[in-house]
């Protein structure tokens, strides 16, 4: 290993390859509603817990501003949970599946792009919780030897087709 790094990286492309464009596909618009519902459920649960904590704190004789703090925080968090986060999350979610690889882009504050070479896919599942089922949605989970990634909330038919396509493509490619 040479220990003298080449100066550079500023203002020019160091690697003579075009940067990979963002993946074009978006997930199903109904995902937004599904996430809002699950966000609302989480918010309600948290609110109930926070109220219980507040009640206990009140009984233990804590000053009321302190006792009211948990439910207040929970109430402040509600619009984020129900409105803001699902929206940003949906806007960020992009993916692409080609013959060669799978690419996902996700994140609310911190945005992560993940590239999985098709030959590394070990197996693919579709998954569906009660909320997703209600909206006719399913997620596709892609497993590799280094972990599993999920494309959430696609229309069931789209998810099934994608799962079959990935399975076929991955089966063609070389085993680990």
């Amino acid at each position: 290993m040479s220990s003298s790094p080449v100066a550079g990286g500023d203002g020019r492309l160091a690697l003579d390859i075009a940067p990979r464009p963002e993946p074009p596909e978006r997930i199903d618009p109904r995902a937004l509603r599904a996430w809002q519902v699950s966000g609302a459920i989480s918010a309600m649960t948290t609110l109930v817990v926070a109220l219980a904590v507040a009640a206990v704190a009140w009984r233990l004789g804590l000053p009321w501003p302190l006792a009211c703090l948990p439910p207040l925080l929970a109430i402040v968090a509600v619009p984020f949970w129900v409105w803001f986060i699902p929206r940003v999350r949906w806007r960020r979610w992009q993916y692409a599946v080609s013959d060669r690889d799978i690419e996902l882009q996700q994140g609310v504050l911190i945005v992560t792009r993940t590239l999985i070479p098709m030959s590394r896919v070990q197996h693919v599942d579709t998954r569906q919780g009660p909320i997703l089922r209600h909206y006719g949605l399913a997620s596709v989970a892609i497993a590799t030897a280094a972990g599993t990634k999920e494309i959430p909330a696609l229309a069931v038919e789209v998810a099934d087709a994608l799962r079959d396509r990935i399975a076929a493509l991955a089966g063609v490619a070389e085993d680990v």
Binding site: M1, S2, S3, S4, P5, V6, A7, G8, G9, D10, L13, A14, L15, I17, A18, P19, R20, P21, D99, R100, D101, E103, L109, I110, V111, T112, R113, T114, L115, I116, P117, M118, S119, R120, T144, A145, A146, G147, K149, L169, V172, A173, E174, V176
Partner: protein
Amino acid sequence: MIVSLRLLGLPKMSEPRRLHPVGIVLRALRQLRELAVPALLPGLVTLLREGFDLSSLRAASWVLVLPAGVLVFSVLYGILAWYRHTYWVAGAELRVEQGILNRKQRIIPIERIQAVDVSQGVLQRLLGLAKVEIQTAGGTAPEVVLTAVSVRAAEELRLALRRPGVLGPVEAGRAGQEPARRLSTQDLLLAGATSGRAGVALSLVGSVMSLFDEAIPWEKVPLLPGHLGGPWTVLGIGVCVIALAWLLSVLGMVLAHAGFTLRREGETLLIERGLLERRVASLPVDRIQAVRIVEGPFRQPFGLVELRVESAAYGLTASESTVLFPLLRRREVLPFLRAFLPEYAVEANLISLPARARPRYALRTDLMGLAMAGASLLLWLQFPMGFLGFGLPLAAALLGLWQYRDAGWAVIGGSLVLRWRTLSRVTAIVRRRRVQMAEIIRSPLQRRSGLATFVVRVTSGASGRAFALRHLDARDAAALLTWIGEQSRKVAATGTAVSEDTRVSWH
């Protein structure tokens, strides 16, 4: 030692064989240990209740008969279990049969085997025995454990489990040409002295000391009149503690790595090491996922490095098992890799990070950094000498600049080289076709300054390992993503094993 045995006049590996008879004892002892509590508890209870009077029949039965029965049972169990436990190699498979009531046969294709480890504890060395552990991918525990086989049988099994179609040195008669390297005693001590594990040992010694500190009334100890807490005493104790920790770390290195020998037999790497407990790990070359060159803070100034490998067989267990060679000179690394792992012998001029990444390294904006800033502010406000607390963020900033200076990356042929520093400087060499997943991670601050964190994941142990480079140019990161994606076109198109262009490019 074990590996130097020759295959001469041994019975066929295709016949079912048993462990060494010592296996009976081991099995019986294990059974005894499991049954110890139920065997002894009734007796103890009886003794406590009725006193130590063995004349009464009931007491005698609980105190003596039950343990005796358990002992006999354990021995019988050990014999039966040993008798039923057989292993053999049939064609390209290892078969293991075991179980007394529920018999199970396990079949492991040889090509699925990730590593074969042969180890000998002190007692086993005296008896000429060895333990064989066979690892397959993705497990947390070895797939097969043979607790006691003769050294000869272990060696024979190891040879039988090598990749089919590869001539080993014995068959090919070219043992002299196989690369081998032994760690010299001088280098062993040097590795121990510079390992930096003294820090770990130090915290251990320190925490023991602090325990004593509260328990011992220092002011009453007559040997330490008055000036305990004087600067010289504190300094003296400090020096002693550090020296002790340092000696411990040297000792640990000697125990683990004495006689470290790496050799390549065909497509297998053999790593033999250990002072009291000898271990031979054999690692198929095509199971290696990445190579890491680690330059610890106490080694880098002397141009010393440690080589590590990632393999699908290890990772969750002792990190020791991934040491490819404990100590090399920096200039030796390239010839060393050329001899043992030519695929990884790449020489690169690394591309350093853009200047705008520098402040991002110097100022930590994560929780750790905020906590540190908060703590030092608090110290400053609370204590007269509290401004000294600002030394911590200052040191962190200097470390950050150091990390920035050393960070870099390069693409050579089919290999990606990433270099970063946490405290040690690490250079990772990853083959593109070994990459399981690549990621670009961007925080809001990184998005604003056109930077990104690039991560590649490879298989290692059960969960995989990630190599990350922080704050490279976002477009370079996206180009790297293109580069990673390019390999799979070939694979998917041909549908065959990857035979990617790049041997090595050196200059």
